[in-house]
């Protein structure tokens, strides 16, 4: 099923010559990668990070700077992805080690602050980043054709999906879910939750950096916006609306949000109210958090699962509350 969709998407640019659609779909693929990486944290490990943009930005800047300073070739491009991922791995490892011991509130705030630091750094270090103005650069010759880039990004998306699916279905991934469900108990079973959380955050950071590298090349331009809270918010909205704790969810979420955004900003030319499209997502997001905490994919999956297996569980198990 998923294979068929992937193949259909791969053939798409050859049968349709809509440039807009090729670009839009490329964008969706890139954000799908980012959202999936975010879901490793939020959905599988139960960590709320408000600093995911820093890894995305790290990848974007590494690739942009290397393509501009060295040369715009495929080799440099691939090398820059590797360098970006390595940087992201190192930084997420150290940040994780220092902060993942903290409770969720503190962790969320600390990641917010650290990514804020990176944003400040990028704004001040103008010799390299040119601050908020940003800079343009040349993409490798091979990507001059948008369709080639489209295919490459799609292929990377498929690979990342397969890799992450293996990752979350592995014994390691199951421990992550156990950490999310009950950290105390996981610890008493002899697993060190910190160890697992740190590795999850490294994987998430590395994949986010990859998405950032692709994003920079897709625009052939980079500025500090890749490090802002908006990027983290996008990942968050996509993951929540699409469905946390599934890998398809974030992809669906990315598609929905990018498409709606595209459509609504088209409408905004006639009706200025649609410039505020983010309100719409904000409300959907809030409703999703309250009523469908599993998102679109999670909710559908649950419905199907319930229909096929009659669950024999106590009906009114009261939730453990803080009060």
């Amino acid at each position: 099923m998923l294979g068929i969709i992937a193949i259909a998407l791969a053939i798409f640019p050859f049968v349709s010559d809509s440039r807009t659609w090729t670009i839009l779909l490329t964008q969706i693929f890139i954000f799908s990668i980012l959202a999936m990486s975010y879901d490793i944290l939020l959905g599988y490990t139960g960590i709320v990070s408000f600093g995911h943009a820093m890894f995305f930005g790290m990848g974007a800047y590494t690739t942009a700077v290397m393509l501009k300073r060295i040369d715009p070739t495929m080799g440099t491009f691939i090398l820059s992805i590797g360098v970006g991922m390595l940087l992201a791995a190192l930084i997420s490892f150290f940040i994780g080690l220092l902060t993942l011991r903290l409770k969720s509130h503190f962790f969320a705030m600390l990641t917010l602050a650290v990514s804020g630091l990176f944003l400040v750094l990028a704004e001040k270090w103008r010799t390299v980043t040119q601050g908020n103005d940003g800079f343009t650069f040349k993409a490798p010759e091979f990507f001059k054709d948008r369709i080639m880039f489209y295919i490459v990004v799609l292929a990377i998306l498929v690979l990342v999906y397969i890799f992450l699916r293996r990752f979350v279905n592995s014994p390691f991934g199951r421990v992550l879910v156990a950490v999310r469900e009950n950290e105390q108990r996981t610890r008493s079973l002899g697993f060190n939750p910190l160890h697992y959380k740190v590795i999850a955050s490294v994987v998430a950071g590395v994949i986010a950096s990859l998405a950032g590298s692709l994003y920079a090349v897709s625009l052939r331009f980079v500025n500090t916006s890749v490090l802002t809270m908006d990027i983290t918010l996008d990942a968050l909205l996509m993951t929540i609306i699409g469905g946390v704790g599934t890998l398809i969810g974030p992809i669906v979420g990315a598609a929905i949000i990018e498409l709606t955004q595209h459509y609504l900003s088209g409408l905004a030319k006639d009706y200025p109210i649609f410039e505020r499209w983010i309100i719409f997502f904000g409300i959907v997001y809030i409703l999703a958090v309250i009523f469908f905490p599993k998102g679109i994919v999670g909710t559908i999956r649950e419905k199907l699962w319930k229909r096929s297996t009659k669950k024999d569980a106590p009906k009114s198990v009261p939730k453990k509350e803080d009060l």
């Binding site: 709320v48 902060t99 602050a113 400040v120 918010l233 505020r276 809030i286 958090v289 939730k319």
Partner: protein, 286 residues
């Protein structure tokens, strides 16, 4: 000397604005373990609604009053609609309040337009006094005065009244407060509304201080308030005053002496506190 005094007054004034924002945040967290990421939205709403009403009526005082009412009403709505449905689930709380922040910010643009809005200091607070060589801007002193006044009022309420006693007891042990016959959810609603009103007050006072207001100011300023809450200790009211002054002064001195570091210094301060003393410098005991 003159410079130092001015930098200090500057820092104190900023510190007081941050304190007004952070004090509500810290009480809400202390009492209900809710970290309200939408708090900055209430700040921005206070600024816009207050300045709008001030421009309409010509009275800054009425503007402040209107901002306070906006804060109370929005606080009530936020607590009922956003906070109550996800009591007890930290991850959901973080997610939902952040989402609400987004909605509040965008709604602001729908109501008052996406552009910046100018805000003037009222004539009776404009200008400055000259004491010796030192020029002291009146409005900054006014902010400092209001900050200490609010601190005094709240401190009195917390220490001397029954509701204050209940709030302090609730910060330490929620279960026990309920077992003594107190409806803590109602107490929490009051605290949430009061905290929101303080955020709105902070916003409307901030407006003439910075001269312009814009929708994203809530988010930018809220980060400072979060830093203050962490440094001061979650749930500690006096702690938030001291930490706010610290952050205000550090920002003010740094902006002058080491401008490159001015934005980063507070975040580094918070990171250090979180890593080495995650309970904050001042804490309410259980």
């Amino acid at each position: 000397m003159e410079l130092l005094i001015n930098l200090t007054i500057n820092g104190l004034a900023t510190g007081m604005l941050i304190f007004l924002l952070a004090s509500g945040l810290t009480l809400i967290f202390g009492l209900m373990s809710v970290l309200n990421f939408a708090h900055g939205g209430l700040f921005a709403w206070g600024a816009y609604s207050g300045i709008w009403f001030y421009t309409l009526t010509g009275s800054f005082f009425l503007g402040i009053l209107f901002a306070l009412i906006t804060g109370l009403v929005l606080g009530f709505i936020t607590e009922k609609l956003i906070i109550t449905p996800v009591y007890g689930n930290h991850v959901q709380q973080i997610l939902i309040t952040l989402g609400f922040m987004l909605v509040l910010t965008e709604l602001l643009k729908v109501v008052w337009g996406p552009n910046q809005m100018a805000a003037k200091v009222p004539s009776y607070l404009a200008g400055s006094w000259e004491i010796g060589d030192v020029l002291i801007i009146k409005y900054r002193l006014f902010i400092i005065f209001v900050g200490f006044l609010i601190f005094g009022i709240f401190q009195y309420m917390l220490q001397k009244t029954k509701i204050g006693l209940v709030v302090r007891a609730g910060v330490m042990n929620k279960e026990m407060v309920q077992a003594l016959g107190i409806n803590i959810k109602r107490v929490f609603l009051y605290v949430f509304m009061a905290g929101s009103a303080l955020a709105a007050l902070s916003g409307v006072l901030m407006a003439p201080y910075s001269g312009v207001i814009y929708a994203e100011m809530g988010f930018e300023f809220a980060i400072l308030a979060f830093i203050v809450v962490v440094i001061g200790g979650m749930g500690s009211f006096p702690g938030s005053l001291l930490a706010a002054i610290l952050v205000g002064l550090a920002g003010s001195y740094m902006a002058y002496y080491v401008p490159a570091l001015s934005l980063a210094v507070n975040m580094m301060l918070m990171a250090i506190v979180l890593i080495f003393r995650p309970q904050g410098l001042f804490t309410a005991k259980g």
